[in-house]
């Protein structure tokens, strides 16, 4: 049944759809995608999204570098990725068409704002002839809709100027798509009313456009589809991006550890949203400082940790470079510290808004001296919540800096999230030292026998005054020591402390078909694409196994045992084979690398093709 109650529309039922909204970076495509996503979530579909926007805030209008896109994959079953190739492309101008057409499946639906296809814009996009006229789009199902004109017409009764009117055309486009896929408009209308509460004329103009687009879809008798709600585990859901989940996870870690959260951070793409999100939640006692630089950000967090807070710093690759020395200090001080690295394309400034997994080696070895620390990796947007709590748990329990690896794809991508029950979150609280531990003295490096962690005595505790520092020190007393044997011993001890964590983390799970000889091993954001590729291979009758690492240092204790069950290990990574190298050096197990350094996540289809040759 159509949302307006009429039932005469014939809707073709499909199980999943991939739509890409593309336009100029000023056209509001991210917002359009977001609203469509919300409507789909409300409708009960499973979904996954991928924004793709330029590094420039406003590249010149109408040009290829200025194109901003948002892809959503929604379905009536559980899905793992934002989809390989869109079946539907909404292009608001010639540049958006040109930049995205190559991805559209053959025979796909093309919805174009025909008003934007004027000579000036065609020139900017580099079209010699008008693609709407020259037959180059013949292999697609094309809808040319004069969106700008119809938008201006729709808002003529509202008190808005021409510029404001034209800016509403994204809502017209959204209305069209909502009609085609039978999405309810209510959530978007409510959202517009709230967003423009202080400018009711703008709210009403946008709502009019949304409705006009919807009505156009119906009167023009565009193709109409139906994607039924997915069967998801019962519970209350919300949509969450990786960065949002990560921020929530840090707050949860603060609550569950009973330690106030302190974030030192310097703005950097694509990590800044964590700073933004945490800054909003001061009612949890969250202190956020926008530091003068990356080094200040991490060292402020170290200072806060010294004072008994949960010290956290968030950054992306270039910032991690700058923080390296301070992370080594935290390691030497043996203070808890969570370092969140939202990886992006490198080296140097590289690709700030694009994703990559190329900081694994940096996390492992990117400090001078022998400086091991635990590494946790998120693997889906919602899993960033878990990863934050896990990183904090390890940092607090083992008195160590921990690096949490996420990436730009997880950070900005969104998925529905079954909201966890707070009662079921782990208790990660610790005890501060309160008494002398050697007679009347307090030794800051007298360790716990099980965890090898030193006691955490915070300023303000009478009788436990002590000094710690970056210089090598004797175990136990913490006094400066240049003794050769002591340094050898301390080096081994710091490694042993991290290694011992393998007893305290989940074993590596694997999912294997009976008789499978090939194991696909992944880490981080390749989780969804690997899962989807394996699912497709199984549908083709192939036998395959998969496993996904959530701890990169130490590896789960059973990792070698799992890997040795299979003849062939395949490791897809968005880098030149960093996990492959670690696996080889740790276990003497060779693997086949599938590498992609394009700033974009793997597509399930490309992995499927690679794997097909191996199974």
């Amino acid at each position: 049944m159509a949302p307006d109650g009429s039932s005469k529309i014939e809707r073709t039922e499909v199980d999943r759809v991939v739509i890409r909204f593309a336009g100029d970076s000023g056209d509001g495509m991210q917002l359009t995608g977001e609203r469509f996503t919300s409507a789909s979530a409300f409708f009960g579909n499973d979904l996954s999204t991928l924004p793709d926007f330029p590094a420039e805030i406003r590249a010149p209008a109408g040009t290829l570098p200025g194109v901003s896109a948002f892809q959503i994959h929604f379905s009536d079953h559980d899905i793992l990725t934002p989809g390989d190739q869109p079946g539907v492309l909404v292009a608001m101008n010639p540049a958006a068409l040109k930049a995205n057409l190559k991805d559209l499946i053959s025979g796909g639906l093309l919805i174009l704002n025909s008003d934007a296809f004027e000579r000036k814009n065609l020139d900017k996009a580099g079209y010699a002839t008008d693609p709407l006229e020259d037959g180059s789009l013949d292999s697609y199902q094309v809808y040319k809709i004069p969106m700008t004109k119809m938008t201006i017409e729709a808002v003529k009764d509202f008190d808005v100027n021409k510029k404001e009117a034209e800016r509403s055309k994204n809502m017209f486009a959204l209305g069209v798509i909502c009609w085609m896929y039978s999405r309810p408009l209510e959530s978007t209308i409510a959202w517009l009313e709230k967003k423009f509460a202080k400018k009711p004329n703008i709210a009403q103009a946008n709502i009019a456009c949304l409705k006009a687009g919807h009505a156009f879809g119906e009167t023009a008798e565009l193709v109409a589809f139906e994607v039924k709600p997915a069967v998801l585990a019962p519970g209350r859901y919300r949509r969450v991006t990786g960065n949002q989940a990560l921020a929530f996870g840090l707050i949860a870690a603060s609550v569950q550890s009973k330690l106030p959260l302190f974030l030192g951070s310097y703005p950097i793409t694509p990590a800044s949203d964590i700073l933004h999100e945490l800054s909003r939640h001061k009612n949890f006692g969250v202190r956020t400082v926008q530091a003068e630089d990356e080094i200040a950000a991490v060292t402020m967090a170290i200072g806060a940790s010294f004072g008994g807070h949960l010290g956290v710093t968030t950054t992306s690759g270039p910032g991690l470079d700058l923080k390296s020395e301070a992370i080594g200090l935290a390691l030497q001080l043996e203070l808890p510290l969570v370092v969140v690295n939202i990886q992006r394309g490198g080296p140097s400034t590289g690709l700030p808004t694009k994703t990559e997994q190329s900081d694994l080696m940096h996390a492992m070895y990117g400090r001078h001296g022998e400086s091991p620390l635990p590494i946790v990796a998120a693997y889906s947007p919602p899993s960033c919540f878990w990863a934050a709590i896990e990183a904090a748990r390890l940092a607090i329990k083992y008195m160590t800096p921990v690096i949490l690896l996420s990436d730009g794809y997880l950070a900005n991508g969104a998925e529905p999230w079954r909201i966890p029950s707070v009662e079921k979150l782990p208790d990660i609280s610790t005890r501060f030292a309160s008494q002398p531990n050697v007679g009347d003295d307090f030794w800051p490096y007298l360790r716990d026998d099980d965890t090898l962690a030193r006691p955490w005595a915070i300023p303000g505790t009478a009788g436990l005054q002590h000094r710690i520092g970056g210089l090598e020190h004797a175990d136990g007393t913490g006094n400066i020591s240049y003794d050769p044997d002591n340094h050898h011993y301390m080096t081994l001890l710091r490694q042993a402390k991290v290694k011992a964590i393998e007893e305290d983390i989940d074993p590596l799970e694997f999912d294997a078909d009976e008789g499978a000889k090939v194991l696909v091993l992944g880490w981080g954001s390749t989780y969804g694409a690997i899962g989807a590729a394996c699912r497709r291979l199984r549908l083709r009758g192939k036998k395959i196994a998969r496993a996904h690492l959530k701890h990169l240092n130490p590896f789960p204790k059973n990792t070698e045992q799992v890997l040795r069950r299979f003849d062939t290990i395949v490791i897809p990574e968005m880098n030149m084979g960093q996990l492959s190298k670690l696996i080889r050096s740790e276990f003497m197990i060779d693997s086949i690398s599938i590498n992609k350094m394009k700033g974009l996540p793997f597509r399930a289809g490309e992995l499927e093709e690679h794997l097909l040759e191996l199974v």
């Binding site: 959530s187 209350r236 009973k258 106030p260 009612n283 967090a301 966890p420 707070v422 000094r467 710690i468």
Partner: protein
């Protein structure tokens, strides 16, 4: 939330007895290892000497340093302390003081640590007015790395790394601090037996950032850098003691002074030429830092008459206080943090039967 946690663990209440501490109570059991004759000894002694007067329990005191000779300081104090990495002490102290407003946090740094590798953190700590006391030992040389020129070395300085003489104009640390919006700025010397502790007391009493430049003689790599002020005769001729509310005058017989010229600049004058009423009266609490800045420019390096004392002492909002106020405001406006409510904020939807 932080208060609750601290109380629950009985930490913030664990203050020891305050009344009977002596200088010796603030000395740690570590052997002091500066070179014999180093100016640092006198500063350590002065700091340990004023500590008992402050009435603050040792466990509430934290000394944080970076790298360099001066940065060994925390090891010698029987308080909490951290010997961190080069230049970062002001940032570490910012984190600690912001997380724990109940603590008294001191930073000990040098001209290389504070003005070169850590210059950025120093100016931003002062700009924010974080509640930390920064003691910058200025010996105009890199000591721990064995004698390279520093950002306060005079132009033309011949060192191991500048055999043909340094090409760089030095920083004037007091000018720099004033330019960074510091609310409390002072200068003194390691050998100032009375003024040094007096200024340390004032710095301790100041709420917010306090910046104290301490001329400190490195008798190994830069001996005599302050000879113009420390030599016989130099004390009278070249030390200009700034006293609040008093005309600025100096000299063996207080025969010279500082006057403002009609163009607004300051000049050193003979009182017999201009008369005492023409002298500038020092005002530490002047809101506009212009005059304090002009005073800091009277000497470019300690080779001519040089002002010592408190250049500026004004009240400005303290960073940590602002942070605490925002936390309280958020808790009163949004209610105390509720994790379930946070996770269920925004658009949510129910799949299947509601668990309620």
């Amino acid at each position: 939330m932080s208060d609750e946690v601290m109380n629950e663990r009985g930490v913030t209440e664990g203050s020891g007895p305050v009344t009977t501490l002596t200088r010796a109570d603030f000395a740690s059991d570590q052997e002091v290892r500066w070179c014999p004759g180093c100016g640092d000894y006198a500063i350590l002694s002065a700091v340990q000497g004023i500590m008992p007067e402050l009435g603050i329990p040792r466990e509430k005191m934290v000394f944080i340093s970076g790298i360099g000779c001066s940065s060994r300081f925390p090891y010698y104090m029987n308080t909490y302390g951290m010997h961190s990495i080069h230049g970062r002490a002001p940032a570490i102290a910012t984190g600690l003081a912001t997380a724990r407003p109940d603590l008294t946090v001191w930073v000990v740094t040098g001209d290389g640590d504070g003005l070169s590798i850590g210059g950025n953190h120093l100016i931003h700590a002062l700009r924010r007015n974080v509640n930390i006391k920064i003691l910058m030992f200025n010996n105009q040389i890199y000591g721990l790395t064995k004698g390279q020129y520093s950002p306060t070395s005079e132009q033309g300085k011949v060192t191991k790394s500048t055999p043909f003489g340094s090409l760089e104009r030095p920083f004037n640390p007091v000018s720099l601090a004033l330019g960074a919006e510091a609310a409390f700025v002072a200068r003194t010397m390691d050998i100032e037996r009375k003024q040094l502790p007096a200024i340390l007391r004032r710095a301790a009493a100041h709420r917010g950032s306090a910046f104290v430049e301490i001329y400190q003689n490195c008798n190994i790599f830069n001996d005599g850098a302050f000879i113009a002020l420390t030599s016989k005769g130099g004390a009278g001729a070249n030390r200009i003691y700034l006293e609040h509310g008093k005309p600025i005058r100096f000299g063996d017989d207080a025969e010279r002074g500082v006057m403002m010229k009609p163009d607004g600049s300051l000049a050193i004058v003979d009182i017999k030429d201009v008369g005492e009423p023409a002298l500038l009266v020092h005002d530490e609490h002047r809101d506009d830092p212009g005059l304090a800045f002009a005073l800091s420019r009277l000497a470019n390096g300690p080779t001519t008459p040089t002002p010592l004392g408190i250049f500026r002492d004004v009240e400005r909002p303290v960073y940590g206080d602002g942070m605490e106020a925002q936390l309280r405001r958020a808790a009163s406006e949004q209610g105390p943090g509720d994790l379930t409510r946070l996770l269920e904020s925004g658009d949510t939807w129910q799949v299947g039967a509601s668990s309620n």
